[in-house]
């Protein structure tokens, strides 16, 4: 049983990492698009961010040094990531469900990190973990993990109920949307049940992680707990294959689209990229585009099919 659990966890983590990276890579290597920003852009001058202004408000803006205000960007980005500020501001009812769900997941990820550190310390510096430090880790990952799973499940149930009952959400809800939320509820539910009902002889959570790290096949994992772990591993592998990978998409929608106000300066990298894109050969069919698959975007854009024709 333990082999199956370990393999599921390693495979789940591997699929998660690879699929997430592949998705991010796909977005990152897309051509630089035309500018499509939305104001306020938080890395603008703080005096302008207050009212949503841009460097276009400055006379002869191209003669000024354009300072990238990273602190301003982080001041928006970090609370948005942690507390879902946009949802809080624009859709409070959903936030009451979505925030605990997402924050619970963050806590669970944090608990996994703590467990990993505790397990590594237990393997490589057992003396260090024998005393107060070990106890502190124990309480920390237990409390953080318990809070995380409780919040996530609560949020997932709330989201599921809302999706099934809210007339605004129902029309666009697909069976997949229901399944996704149920998957969280069931996977976490079985995990919690397996943990609670695991019996006194079963390994603790730290021992399990240490077993995972050392591939200790002698460890006996109770069936229900093993099922919960495998389900969670499957869930981890499933997430980046769906729109739930919006933690990846959101980075690009914010940084590459909403907040991308980077100027195309003469001789810049952007200009070099644009020069490449202008050599692409589109094949749009409408006659006015004059694209035949042979003419480049540069040819098309610099051709006026109506020049010299009468009104």
């Amino acid at each position: 049983m333990s082999v199956l659990v370990y393999l599921a966890l390693y495979a789940g983590a591997a699929v998660f990492v690879v699929a997430t990276a592949a998705r991010a890579w796909m977005y990152a290597r897309a051509p630089i698009h035309l500018r499509w920003e939305l104001y306020p852009v938080p890395h603008e001058d703080p005096a302008k961010v207050k009212h949503g202004g841009s460097y276009f408000e400055d006379k002869d803006w191209w003669t000024h040094k354009h300072r990238y205000n990273l602190a301003g960007e982080l001041a928006v980005m970090v609370p948005e990531m942690l507390f879902l500020n946009a949802l809080h501001e624009f859709n409070r009812k959903l936030w009451y469900r979505s925030f605990p769900f997402h924050f619970g997941l963050y806590l669970l990820i944090g608990a996994c990190g703590l467990l990993l550190v505790a397990a590594l310390l237990g393997i490589f510096a057992p003396a260090l973990m024998a005393g107060a430090l070990g106890m502190a880790f124990h309480w920390l990952y237990t409390v953080v993990g318990a809070a995380g799973v409780a919040l996530s499940m609560l949020g997932a149930v709330g989201l599921l109920v809302r999706r099934l009952t809210d007339p605004d959400l129902k029309p666009s809800t697909t069976p997949g949307d229901i399944f996704n939320l149920l998957f969280f509820i069931v996977a976490f539910g079985v995990l919690v049940a397996g943990f609670i009902l695991r019996g006194p002889e079963a390994p603790g959570i730290l021992a399990l992680v240490q077993g995972l790290l050392t591939f200790n096949t002698a460890m006996a994992v109770p069936g229900l707990l093993a099922t919960g772990i495998v389900l969670c591993a499957l869930l981890a592998a499933y997430i980046p294959l769906t729109h739930m990978s919006h933690f990846v998409g959101k980075y690009f929608t914010y940084h590459d689209v909403r907040w991308n106000d980077q100027v195309n300066l003469r001789g810049s990298k952007i200009e070099a990229k644009l020069a490449e894109y202008l050599t692409y050969r589109p094949n749009w069919s409408a006659p006015h585009v004059t694209a035949d698959g042979k003419r480049t975007w540069a040819d098309i854009a610099t051709t006026n099919p109506w020049e010299g024709t009468k009104k």
């Binding site: 939305l38 306020p40 624009f90 859709n91 029309p171 990978s245 929608t253 909403r258 692409y280 610099t302």
Partner: protein, 535 residues
Amino acid sequence: MKDKIKLSDMSRPDRKPLTHLVNEELMPLPYPLDSPEKDHDWKALTEKVVGSVECGLDDTCAINIPQPKTKEEEDELVKKFLAGLDKLFTKENNWTFLQPLILSMEHCAKCQTCSDACHIYEASGQNEMYRPTFRSEIMRRLYFKSVKHGGVLSAWQHGDIEINWPLVARLAELAYRCNLCRRCAQTCPIGADNGLVAHELRKLFSQELGINAKECHDNGSVLQLKVGSSTGMSSLVVKDNIEFIDEDMTEKTGIKVETPWDVEGADVLLIHNAGEIMAWPENPGAFAVILNAAGIKWTLSSEIAGYDSINYGLWYDDAQFARVAIKHAQAAKKLGVKKIVLGECGHAHKALSVIADRVLTGDLNIPRESSMTLLRDIVMNDRIKLDPSRNDFPVTLHDPCNMVRLMGVVEPQREVIRKICPQFREMWPHGVDNYCCGGGSGFAIMSGNNFQDWRFHVAGRKKMEQILNAFQDCMDPSINKYLCAPCSNCKGQFRDMLAYYELWDKQRILYGGLVELIVNCMVDAKPGFIEWEWH
């Protein structure tokens, strides 16, 4: 009763409209438009239109797609649509918006947060058809089904949609029920962009099937590339008109006005929306008065498109957009000016300053600036003498989406107004949270069939509410009120909508630009530049 429209209804094989709006179900308006029963009835589409073009969506028809005569013709159009859909997701055909489009396709959580932000959805009485995600959700299903070749599992995960001609025809119309103001995108927790989806759909139809709004294409960008301006004015005609405006301005202000043409090496090439020259000549006239008085070395250009900042391609077609933007830059390059300054036109601001930033390369990459900043510089640095007491009447400011939310030019116009208008009051909300005038994305120039009815009753309704609320404390026909809209397109919408609701006749709400307010309080000009007459 509100229609209960489902996504699958879009594929319904008949040509009957899926929804019908009645005044009583629309968002209520404040005084004096607070009696829906007294509101205008909608004009019905004529039998000829219903029998010849595709109008199976709602009560109106914006783009007049001829009804295919045979099933084979329908199938051919569907095939072309799907081919265009594929092209939309290739870098060779759509490098311009590929990344944001894919992101919006793959990451919408269907939380409907955007719905409350959409003025059209709200004004329609929350009609499902106008929910910002309605068209996006169809597009998303088409993307997974047709572009990504999703099977049963994909349909289960993302939802299915039946692809047929009625769906395609309705989708084309639905792409023209969005002002592309992107207020929805601003509220999306994930950053998905329903406005972009509508924009890309318009592109697909235009660039692949040649389907677009006649007002934007044939009478818009094509005419501009043919003769130099979408107004149809050649350079000779425009020079004649400006000469007439100069004479008129000289008489009105008592200041000799002369507009310079084709001055090589000028500091500023000013490009107006040529619609101003035709419809609101006092606007380019006021610009000339101010720039001359401030000692700016400026010029207009008589090159093709160089005297018309309009770029309707922004709303429906990348090729047309790029062609016009390049013409603008070429006009500036030919004169060797230091910068291009855009007159009071929101979409021209965004088109040439923001979007074209990644089209214009090399020596065509000439600095572009908003007239709002130039005017702010002139007014706040006292380069002309002003007497704000001449503007002592209620003034409110409309924020053109393209200039404000989509470009970040928010404060310069406010600094000017605060200085010269003692009774200035903001609308609520304003700035980057503003609402569209309802004429955005070409609607202000689209009046075919009964489209105006939809434009006034639905698209412009939220803005109308804002305007009336801003003036509630002075809703008295003896008090002249001024709605400042530094955008030609928005002014077109206000002209039509204020007239439709008789708000000039009955409440003395006049609309106009920013420069008119400045000249109205110029000490050196004769008083009374704003004539308080309907035009």
